[in-house]
Each structure stands twice: as C-alpha cells, then as structure tokens.
C-alpha cells in the first residue's frame, strides 16, 4: 500500500511538466492574452474618449468665441446702418427744406414781378386815360412833352399812393 515506485514518481514529474508546458501555452497563455488585449482595448477606448472630449471642448470654446465675434460684428453693422440712415434722413430733410424755401422765394419774386407789371400797366392805363381826359379837356392831342409831364405827375402820385 505504501510503496514508493521511483518510476511512478519520475513519470508523475514528467507528466506534470509536460501538462504544464502544454496548458501554459494552450490554456493560460491564450486566456491571459485575451484578458490583456481586452484591458488594452478598454484603456485605448478611454483614452480616445477623453481625447474626443477634449477636442469637443476646444471646438466649443472656439465656436463660442466665433459666435461672440459674429454678434459684435452684427451689432456694429446695425449701428453703422442706423447712423448712415440717420445721416441720409437728415440730408433729405435739409434738402426738402431748402427746396421749399427756394420755391417760396420764387413764388414771392414772381408775385412781386407780377404786381410790378400790373402796377405799371395800371399806371400806363391811368396815364393814357388821364391824357385822354386832359386832351378832351384841352381839345387838342397830346405831344411828347405833355406825355412826359403826365408821366412825371403820375409817378409822383404813385409814390405818394
């Protein structure tokens, strides 16, 4: 029952060493390889995710900066346009006022001219009527001297009137 056989001991040792050599390669090596690969994969995934996150943050900051710039630009454009519109408006108003002024002056001038013309016409008329009346009174036609005399008289009257 309790006999040691050298051959069995040696065989057992050889058996175990052979089994170890095979299982280390076929079982433990393969499984550990897979575990290591998986660990590496997870590490890589984490790293790439972190990198992606960082890139996204950078992009976000960049876009936010751009957006602020764009807003400022837009505000500037709007205010420029307002200023220009104001200027144009003021110009137009001034122009219109000038135009109105000119028209009024023209109209006044025209009225004055017409009045002058009318007055002269009336004066002439009155003069000729007066001459006519005087001629009738004097019973003779008027010559040039008389005419100038009448004119002089009339203008005196006009100045007084």
């Amino acid at each position: 029952m309790l006999e040691f056989h050298l051959s069995t001991i040696v065989f057992t040792i050889i058996n175990l060493l052979v089994l170890y050599a095979i299982l280390r390669k076929v079982l433990f090596g393969r499984v550990n390889d897979i575990l290591e690969q998986r660990a590496n994969l997870v590490q890589q995934e984490i790293e790439s995710a972190q990198q992606g996150n960082r890139q996204a943050q950078e992009l976000k900051a960049e876009y936010e900066g751009k957006l602020t710039d764009a807003r400022q630009e837009a505000a500037k454009i709007v205010s420029d346009a307002q200023i220009r519109a104001q200027r144009v408006y003021e110009g137009k108003v001034a122009e219109a006022q000038g135009e109105a002024q000119r028209l009024r002056q023209e109209a006044q001038a025209q009225i004055a001219t017409e009045r002058e013309t009318m007055l002269q016409g009336a004066r002439k008329e009155v003069a000729s009527l007066a001459l006519l009346a005087a001629a009738k009174v004097a019973g003779r036609s008027m010559d040039a001297d008389d005419k100038s005399f009448v004119d002089e008289f009339l203008s005196e009257v006009g100045e007084q009137g």
Partner: protein, 231 residues
C-alpha cells in the same frame, strides 16, 4: 469476508499496467496510465475551449473560462505578490491535474492520487518550486537568510520544514484520497445500489476538490512565504 479483504487489498495495491522493455524494463503503473488519460482530457478540453477566443463579445464559455483564470490570477497575486505571473499557470495546472485526478473515481477509474508515488511526485515538484523560487528571487544569500526568519531561533524548524512540507503535502493528499477510496469500495461491497452514488458526492467530488484546494493553497502560501517582501 475473506473475499472482501482480498478484493480490498487488491484495490489498494498499485498494479503495473505494462512494462516498457527499455533499460531492463521500466514499470508503468496503472496510476500513470490514468494520469495520461487525465492529461489527455485536460489538453483536449483546453484546446476545444480556447479555440475561438474573442476580445470583444465573448461567449458564455469564454466568460466562464476568463473568470476562472482571473480568479486564479487574483488568488496567486494575493498570496505571492509581485512575481505572481510566473506561478499562476503552474499552480493552475497542478490544480486542474489534482482536481481531475481526485474526482475521476466517479468515472470508474482508480484515482491516480491514491498512489503515494504520484502524490510524492507532486510534493517533490512543490518543494522544488517553493525553495527554488526562494533562491531565485532572493539570491543565494538572501535565500539562505530566509531560513532564519522570522527569527534565527526558528532556523532548525525552518530547515526541517524543507522535508516536512513536501511530506505533509504528499501524505495529506494520498491519505485523503485513499481513505475516500477505501470507504467507497466498502460501500460498494455492502450496498451496491444507490448508496454509493449518494456518498460518492461527498467522498469523490467534495473531498477531492477540497484536497485540491488545500494542496494548491498550501503550495502557494509556502511560495509566498519564501519570496514575499515583508511590509
């Protein structure tokens, strides 16, 4: 009763299966032949199970295999420390071999571990592993110093342990498996139906696996003691 005694004695012997006609005849005992069967089964199973390993989306079989190997790695790392990587496959191999050899009684073979020569071989390997690693990782002087730890007074005991540890490993495994084997043979003789099946769960399966764990655990522990740095 005499017939039973004779049968039992025959079962307890370690019959020679055949003799290799070399160097004046090398005896190949039955336990060695059964060991070969165990090895063949383990190798074929390992080849089949690890045939299609995937890094992503592992199947159920692969997940079980991975958790088993991870458990082994964690256990060895906890007991041996930083140099665990070199030891895990060896301890795993020993565990698979002893475990399968212990429970092969269920399939009608005589367990190889009931042969004291087989357990002696295992114990010698454990001894070589324990003291080999002690010198390998501490150097010659450091390895020798380890015998004077934790205090020089224990030097004789530590030196005796070189022989006692493998002897205890060898005899514990052999005794347990042989005892379980004898009890099972007696049960089979007394009540051949149903009874043996129920007791086989304890004596073949449970005891066999417990003894596997004990053997591997103690070996790991001793290796760790030899090379682990004191914190």
């Amino acid at each position: 009763m005499d017939a039973f005694k004779e049968m039992l004695l025959e079962e307890l012997g370690t019959p020679t299966a055949f003799t290799i006609p070399l160097l004046g005849g090398i005896d190949v005992s039955q336990s060695v032949v059964v060991s070969w069967i165990v090895m063949a089964v383990l190798i074929v199973a390992a080849l089949c199970l690890t045939r299609n390993l995937k890094v992503e989306h592992p199947g159920k079989v692969q997940m079980g295999l991975e958790s088993a190997v991870q458990f082994l790695n964690g256990f060895v790392e906890a007991n041996i420390g930083e140099h665990w990587r070199a030891f895990a496959p060896w301890l795993g191999t020993v565990a698979l071999y002893i475990g399968f050899a212990n429970i092969i009684g269920i399939f009608g073979f005589a367990p190889p571990t009931k042969d004291v020569s087989v357990t002696a071989g295992l114990a010698i390997l454990s001894m070589l592993l324990i003291y080999g690693s002690q010198f390998r990782y501490n150097g010659l002087l450091g390895g020798l110093k380890r015998f004077a730890e934790p205090m020089p007074l224990l030097l004789p005991i530590n030196l005796m342990e070189v022989a006692i540890r493998p002897l205890a490993l060898c005899m514990r495994l052999f005794g347990n498996v042989l005892g379980a084997f004898i009890i099972m043979e007696m049960l089979k003789f007394v009540a051949p139906i149903l009874f043996p099946a129920v007791f086989s769960i304890y004596f073949d399966l449970f005891d066999g696996l417990i003894q596997t764990v004990v053997f591997v655990f103690l070996t790991t522990q001793f290796v760790g003691e030899g090379i682990k740095e004191e914190e």
